[in-house]
Symmetry: C2
Subunit: 437 residues, 2 copies
């Protein structure tokens, strides 16, 4: 009886990480971790599943209604697979608020899930570096977060002209809408949402949407457009803006200049950021390459994130950087290094009678911290060589009849295409020296 076979395809919108893909993922994670740790950030993690309530409160309606992976568990609880990390980090920080020395510098690289129609660069799951700095109200927090956000791309080898940081302040739009255009708060909210998607719609659609939202305000589009191209120095002439907001931005830009990031950062009041969390400064980092001209990542300041859980207040600044977006950026700019198995030694097995000898060499190499693929099946040399080449191994350490008689080994260096006969100890030393180079 022939049984029906299952498909080997992975679930729609997800990725299988074969070893070559996993090497890339590990490389991305290790560089990100190295940079955030160099700023004193500590790693945390929470469970993949959280109560659905956590997302109902703050996450956008579209996400909770249509995009979240929610279900009822076997105990009748409404739960969700996390679509973002912010509610989890807020919950965790709130639960230990009095015990955690401040500032709190935390990072995580969670796997996040959204039920989206998979498409170009859009998947149902991705990994996202989340960086959060809690407990600092001074704009030095913004300075650190922006400096860290840039240093991550620099650490991957990005040049200073490969990306730009666009900075604004959440209050600017609110104050301008409320005082400058006399909009109601629901209108402000709607117009903000239109601005957030302005780059994805035509100019006609944009104008029509604004006019439909605030019909009583016919000249609004021009005023908004004027506002969107204002410079820092124009801010004091814009009606409705508070002096505090202007000073925060002015001080931030002055200090960005001082720490050498002046050339990377633009003030851009058109930056909105989709999320409702943000209450202060916001930023987005854009790829400058025409092939990948999109927002890479962004973040900002959120001043009442733990309010869901606690009456205490805690100010936070942070950002999130997705692995798919980052990988696109690195590929666009040709920044991905080759990641092979070049640190591994292959020990072929030509005759089963020699297995224990080969095994003992493998153990000695492993004890010296060297990775060894020990052949478990005796085969002709040609077949084993071809396997070692396919695997991309750097060295082949051989002990055949001849070498056994002479108490030597032959070490083949696949990179430099050399072969040398020596004692096993000399071969081990040679490999060790190459590996620490």
């Amino acid at each position: 009886m022939k049984e029906k076979k299952l498909t080997t395809e992975n679930y729609k919108g997800t990725r299988d990480f074969f070893p070559a893909d996993m090497k890339i993922r590990n490389y991305l994670f290790s560089v990100m971790k190295k940079v955030v740790r160099s700023y004193g950030y500590e790693e945390y993690d929470g469970p993949m599943i959280e109560s659905l309530d956590l997302y109902r409160a703050k996450t956008g309606e579209e996400i909770v209604g249509k995009q979240i992976y929610n279900f009822i568990d076997k105990g009748g609880r409404e739960v969700a697979i996390r679509p973002e990390m912010t509610p989890t980090v807020a919950r965790m920080v709130a639960s230990k608020l009095r015990d955690l020395p401040r500032p709190i510098r935390w990072f995580s690289i969670p796997n996040l899930w959204r039920y989206e129609q998979p498409g170009h660069g859009r998947l149902r799951e991705h990994w996202q570096l989340n960086v959060d700095l809690f407990g600092v109200t001074h704009h030095y927090a913004e300075l650190e977060i922006l400096s860290l956000a840039c240093d991550i791309l620099f650490a991957f080898g990005a040049s200073r002209d490969s990306f730009r940081v666009k900075v604004s302040h959440r209050a600017l739009l609110d104050e301008f809408f409320k005082e400058g255009l006399a909009l109601r708060s629901d209108q402000s909210h709607e117009v903000s949402k239109i601005l957030d998607k302005k780059n994805k719609i035509t100019n006609e659609e944009y104008i029509s949407l604004v006019n439909k939202t605030i019909p009583e305000n016919p000249g609004a589009v021009e005023k908004i457009n004027q506002f969107l191209i204002s410079k820092i120095s124009d801010l004091s002439n814009i009606p409705g803006l508070k002096q505090e907001t202007i000073s925060t931005l002015t001080d931030l830009f002055k200090d960005l200049e001082s720490i050498g990031l002046g050339d990377m950062v633009d003030f851009d009041p058109s930056v909105v950021r989709g999320f409702d969390y943000y209450t202060g400064f916001i930023f987005e980092i854009f790829d400058t390459s025409p092939a990948n001209k999109r927002s890479l990542y962004g973040g900002g300041r959120y001043d009442n994130l733990i309010g869901l859980f606690s009456n205490d207040e805690l100010s936070g600044t942070g950002f999130g950087l997705g692995d798919v977006t980052l990988l696109n950026f690195l590929q666009t700019h040709n920044l991905l290094p080759s990641l092979s198995n070049e640190n591994t030694v292959f020990i072929p097995l030509l005759d089963s009678a020699h297995f224990l000898l080969c095994q003992s060499m493998a153990t000695k190499l492993r004890n010296a911290g060297i990775a060894v693929d020990l052949s478990l099946t005796s085969q002709k040399m040609g077949k084993q060589l071809s396997y070692a080449e396919k695997k991309g191994y750097r060295w082949i350490l051989l002990q055949g009849e001849e070498e056994i008689a002479k108490k030597t080994v032959s070490l083949k260096d696949m990179l430099n295409r050399t072969q040398e006969e020596s004692s096993f100890e000399n071969a081990l030393e040679k490999i060790s020296i190459e590996l620490t180079k």
Copy 2:
């Protein structure tokens, strides 16, 4: 209006990994990865969500029916959060069977979920190291897997008397039941399940269960008990056992002796292993400490795992090791090192006017690969010292009024309780040297 606050508790049966917990998890993972990589194993990963079909076929009924996190996605697909990694690795290997050079040595540390009643050492999610070696039919595969399984515990500092490996062969029981006791295959299956839980029930329960399952076979319990205490040398006298099975075990034990694992491994025909995957050798590793006398982990050989997906055959040998079990073992044997923030330098801020100076020192240290927590809020020295102590930082690098005037810095070593004034460059060098020690 006072709004109702959400609970800060995590979802039942899960864990929040605060930085101190995450350091432990990272330590466990890094040691495991180092050892498996030293054997040439490559890391892979698959999605957290798979089609439910993947688990229906091979996973035990109890798991699919009661313990799996399954739900219907917004597109009407029956999906599940992975309760184990084996179906995923089988799917992935089957999908690239012709492209993958053999043997295939893969590992992963996935997060796995089961809906269980949380209790002592039982959670709803855990992380599990999965190690698989595909494409080797010779018992050298068993040898490598057992050697690797032991080396993982040795790498954590486990002594040779802290654990024992118990080895058997799946065919032994089958052959003994079929030929020696003349059981039908459904009876064999039932009796195997009883043996698997023998240690968790009383002897009376065990006897009664066996007699109920095979009432037509009154002397069975004694014969089974006799079988369960047999040694390798007894096997040839047991009715029904095939010579092939006996030879495999005899050869394996001889080679285990030769590679120096003879003192760690016992033959024990009472090892059953719950899973239906196994078709050949099986093993379990037990903690020898009376405080934690339980199976730590185990594995075995499965010869038709990819049969669900393909008509090709591929033999596999492997094991799974859970993080909770491993942590219990390390704690029982006092093997967990202290994992602090001892590599981090703290730069206090005594006066906002000095921020840019401090910031520039931080950048130089970070560029030299040193982690720095730069204070973003100017505070009195006492408060900052107390913060640095709470965080467990090794060094405090201070540039106050005095130091600025003299163009020096003061470096306080919290470990050795010393303080030295020098140029910034000297301080940086001193820290670098200490960090590479």
